[in-house]
């Protein structure tokens, strides 16, 4: 890379993890800024305005969730939270508070880079002032927002209005996790934010139409205890 790469703020109290993240990010052209505590993270974020934040949820001085909330008061910088398995509740809270995605420890460099690429791309799309894209293409799926048609490998799919709205939401956020709550708010509206089973049942219906084998989904994958993710082959390779 010729121009200085994106600045990533790594917020992590474990020195070994910081070393691993630095060693993975630098060769990909990222510049790395490191914070060990929540307080340090907020100071550095305000001073340097990073393009992305990698945030461990277990920090010594405060809950990582507080960092997400504090950041979101003034910044739209994408935040990817890092947390252990079996802390699904914490991940959901962080995502609903405005974090963009999450990584479960342990994770590999491939997964890390895929998440970062998706988060940066979405941040760019949101920041751009140009007109929204009329056609969304994710893997074999093609959603024409103007004609309101969906094709898979060129073949048209007949979706119900709700299935279509679900797919549009997933496609607009391709590669990124969406929590049950985020989906409910977008597709059914605030009065139904607690009806998680709506999402599960309609996601099942959508899968029947877009997946080869709906019981072995390859496109819309379940993130257990968190939500769903439409896989984007463009970033996962």
């Amino acid at each position: 890379m010729t121009s200085p790469g994106p600045l990533v703020l790594v917020v992590e109290d474990e020195p070994q993890m910081r070393r691993f993240l630095r060693a993975s990010l630098t060769p990909h052209g990222f510049r790395v800024l490191e914070a060990k505590t929540a307080a340090e993270a907020l100071t550095l974020a305000a001073a340097h305005v990073p393009e992305l934040v990698l945030l461990d949820l277990g920090l010594p001085d405060a809950d990582g969730l507080e960092v997400v909330r504090a950041l979101r008061e003034w910044s739209r910088t994408p935040v990817i939270v890092i947390s252990a398995r079996d802390r699904e509740g914490d991940k959901v809270l962080a995502l609903d508070a405005g974090a963009d995605d999450y990584l479960t420890k342990p994770f590999g460099t491939g997964e890390l880079m895929a998440r970062i690429r998706v988060a940066l791309r979405h941040a760019q799309a949101q920041a751009s002032t140009s007109a929204p894209v009329p056609v969304l293409e994710v893997g074999p799926l093609r959603v024409d927002l103007t004609a309101r048609t969906v094709t898979r490998d060129g073949k048209e799919l007949r979706l119900t209005p709700i299935e279509y709205r679900l797919l549009v939401l997933l496609a607009k956020n391709a590669g990124k996790v969406l929590t049950h709550r985020q989906i409910l708010l977008d597709v059914w509206g605030p009065p139904h934010a607690g009806q998680t089973h709506y999402v599960r049942v309609y996601m099942g219906e959508l899968r029947k139409k877009i997946e080869d084998d709906p019981a072995r989904p390859k496109l819309v994958v379940t993130e257990p205890g968190v939500g769903y993710r439409l896989r984007d082959p463009a970033v996962t390779g």
Partner: protein, 357 residues
């Protein structure tokens, strides 16, 4: 509990006395004594030492009062009766002492067995865990130090192979730690079941997605009827159950062999069966495979033998059952039965299929 035992003893003596009174005029005095001895023995055997002593004392009094002339007074006319009283009381003491001793021995034996069992469990845990933790660690350390110290002397293929080994072993270590944590949580009774309404297909599907790379090249035949009811279960825990069942099936069958998943509604429950075409179980192993640290099917397959114990723990926490059997035509079959709890919540009004509006 204690009061009830003493009350029963008093009733027992009263019963014996009623019997003695009824047959008093038909039998000799020594036979009446036998009734009371029997009462004391019964009290000792069923109610313990204290009640036996009470029974002895009461029996002596009742015998004197009802059976020994002059009737209905505690006065003793002949001194030989006094000897009977003393003998009766001594028998009572001896019997209660014997019973107490037998009980104590039984308890000691039981606690010794329990101790031995716990000890055995602990050492089997330690040896299983330390072996399973050390093996991947040894491989990772070996491969990583080789790469660090002699990396420049290795060709590309050799380096790639060592790196692949590091990744595989790290994954194995991750699985083991995950299982150990799950097991610990199950045993600490700290596992909270967070029930949510979820289709069976999503649980199975999310487990299959997680194992995508592991199951690559395998036919997974799922037969899930479309009219299955939603289940009220913990989605994360149930996903783990099916991950463990699929991992187990994959571990014990040749690569490429098919795994079948079927579900159906049975009376008040949903039954989900994961079946393979591997060697099945040796006779008698169908129950033991769900025990902790049991490595199934007499193989050297990797793992600490925790996967299926976790399956059982989680399913039982949901009020369900899991059983293993050999499949007709060969292979193993795991049958999960989950009771349908509560009434599934309503759905928004059905929509028409057609052009999205």
């Amino acid at each position: 509990m204690r009061a009830r035992r003493f009350l029963s003893t008093v009733l027992l003596v009263a019963l014996g006395t009623a019997l003695a009174r009824a047959v008093r005029d038909l039998v000799a005095l020594p036979d009446l004594v036998m009734i009371y001895v029997a009462v004391i023995m019964v009290a000792a055997a069923f109610f313990g030492r204290g009640p036996a002593l009470v029974a002895s004392a009461l029996s002596v009094g009742a015998y004197d009062f009802v059976c020994v002339p002059p009737y209905y007074t505690l006065a003793i006319a002949e001194s030989r009766h006094a000897v009977t009283f003393v003998m009766m009381f001594v028998v009572g003491l001896l019997v209660s002492e014997l019973v107490a001793r037998v009980r104590r021995h039984a308890e000691e034996a039981e606690s010794a067995t329990l101790r031995a069992h716990t000890e055995e469990m602990r050492s089997s845990l330690l040896s299983a865990v330390s072996h399973d933790l050390r093996t991947p660690l040894a491989v990772i350390t070996g491969a990583a130090t080789t790469l660090r110290d002699q990396g420049d002397k290795l060709d590309v293929a050799e380096r790639a192979e060592l790196l692949e080994t590091v990744c595989e072993e790290a994954e194995r270590l991750e699985r083991l730690v995950r299982n150990l944590l799950d097991m610990t949580r199950l045993e600490a009774k700290g596992m909270k079941v967070k029930r949510e309404w979820i289709p069976v297909e999503e649980i199975v599907g999310s487990a299959l997605t997680r194992l995508e790379r592991w199951l690559e090249g395998r036919a997974i035949v799922t037969r899930l009827p479309p009219d299955l009811p939603l289940l009220s279960v913990d989605p994360v825990l149930l996903e783990q159950v099916f991950v463990n069942l699929f991992e187990n099936a994959a571990k014990h069958t040749p690569p490429g062999s098919a795994i079948d998943v079927t579900a159906r509604r049975v009376d008040g429950a949903v039954e989900i069966v994961v079946a393979d075409r591997g060697p099945g179980f040796p006779a008698g192993d169908e129950l033991r495979i769900f025990e902790k640290f049991h490595r199934g099917r007499g193989t050297s397959a990797p793992g600490a033998g925790l996967g299926l114990a976790i399956v059982r723990g989680v399913i039982e926490a949901h009020g369900g059952t899991v059983t293993a059997s050999n499949r007709t035509g060969g292979g193993a079959e795991m049958r999960v039965l989950l009771p349908i709890v509560g009434t599934p919540p309503g759905m928004p009004a059905a929509e028409e299929a057609g052009a999205p509006s």
